[in-house]
Amino acid sequence: MTAVANRRPLTWEMAAGGSHALATGVGDVGTVLLAGPPAAAGAESLASHLLRLGALPAEAKRPAFILKVVADSGLQGRGGAAFPVARKMVAAAAGTGKALLVVNGSESEPASRKDWTLLCLRPHLVLDGAALAAAAIGASSAVIQLHRGAAAPSAALLQALQQRRAADLSDPRFTISFGPPRYVAGESSAIRAFLAGGPAKPAPRGGRGHGPGSPPLVQNVETLALLALLGRFGADWLRGFGTGASPGPTLVTLAGAVDHPGLVAEMTGPTALSNVLTRWGGLAGAPRALLFGGYAGTWCDGRQAWGLDLNRESLATAEIPFGSGLVGVLPWDACGLAETARLLTYLAQESSGQCGPCVWGLPRLAKEMSDLAWGRVASRDVRRMARMATELAGRGACHHPDGAVTLLASALTVFSDEVVHHLRQGPCSRSGRGPVFPIPERRDAAWR
């Protein structure tokens, strides 16, 4: 299929907002999601988008067609959980009452830029995909959910929506909704609760504020962008990228000690992690450790990870969930325990304050990890911390605490040498340096 015109590897610099985010094609196959004009050109116009990819074929809006290509393709969600899209769509299509599609553009992961990049550079890809998903479930309207303060994506979307209205595309009624910029506010039940008029806190059993009928279908921005291509080129085409269990191209964001934190790279086929990090991260060799998935992610020893392929499937074989595609680099001169303590402190602050184990447990884990990183502790303290962590797993209403537990458990494994060192001699010189992974300042404590 040659319709995806630009197969050249692209390197481009984002123009928007003075940010140093970059988007780049990696490997020999080039780019798919990010194909098209360079990033410096900003958001691709509808005219360019249609010239490059053609209009959505009319049949692509038939629910039966979409549900079939999605099922045949094996597409998985890109918001973190890698849930099969077909299953959610079929359930939503069979639902009763007024259907609603939610485009999840929250991108709560502080270091992740992939959804931001898609919205800013390829808004029409996302909107095409949203139009298809809405058609599949019989929704006449779709809400694009952003965090407050996401100025560049919202500007790109407003312009794109204007172009689409002028071209009289048969779109659902799109609205942009701004939620509180809190980590768990991007979780799907939190968005549903917010759209129902409540606080943007996870409410997995629905409950408060929910009207009758089936809950809105929530899909991630990258998932929908892939759907736009799937609707045009079909399931076999999509399966030509990615891996068997995780089909389609994948966006990843590089973070931490790399040349350009926030660089978004597209994996179209099997690509060695070492290749990505030397070519696009500026690394000369394996770092001390890698943080995969997000701030509530999983640590992996740098030298062990160096030989891995960077895709969800091979990471899963190494028992590493790839979450929302973050690849964080911890350099040799940083302390993994100190970094984990800062991340846990952040995650504890971002609890929605509803569930006892999360409200009480996460701050305790953060405190104990901080004591290990910067104070003097004994091995029984570390044992107690590890036991407490395992007792918290699975006990929140959402998966927020589970991420914190995985982060801590993987830290104790990967940084076992550092633990021994800290137990014997207290904090090391490396724990004194500043954060490798920036912790966002909380500008806004509201839940509405």
Binding site: A203, C355, G396
Partner: protein, 76 residues
């Protein structure tokens, strides 16, 4: 049917009544929030205690989830 006692942690207020009424099914963690065994409830007496706990929870945070036993796991 298999039966599981489940807690909606976002509703639970940590009153701990469940642990009193169904002590064999519910432990409390160090902050007083329930830790519920993941095994299905087998004996009728367990099921009865679980029902008491569900009915008594002031936060209406507990429920009994019942599902038919999947054919693959059914004893012949």
């Amino acid at each position: 049917m298999t039966h599981h006692l489940k807690v909606d942690m976002d509703r639970c207020q940590g009153h701990g009544i469940c642990a009193v009424l169904a002590g064999d099914l519910v432990d409390l963690d160090q902050w007083g929030f329930p830790v519920i065994a993941s095994e299905p409830l087998s004996e009728p007496a367990q099921l009865r205690r679980a029902r008491w706990a569900v009915a008594a929870c002031p936060a209406r945070a507990l429920q009994l989830e019942s599902a038919p036993v999947p054919a693959s796991e059914r004893k012949r």
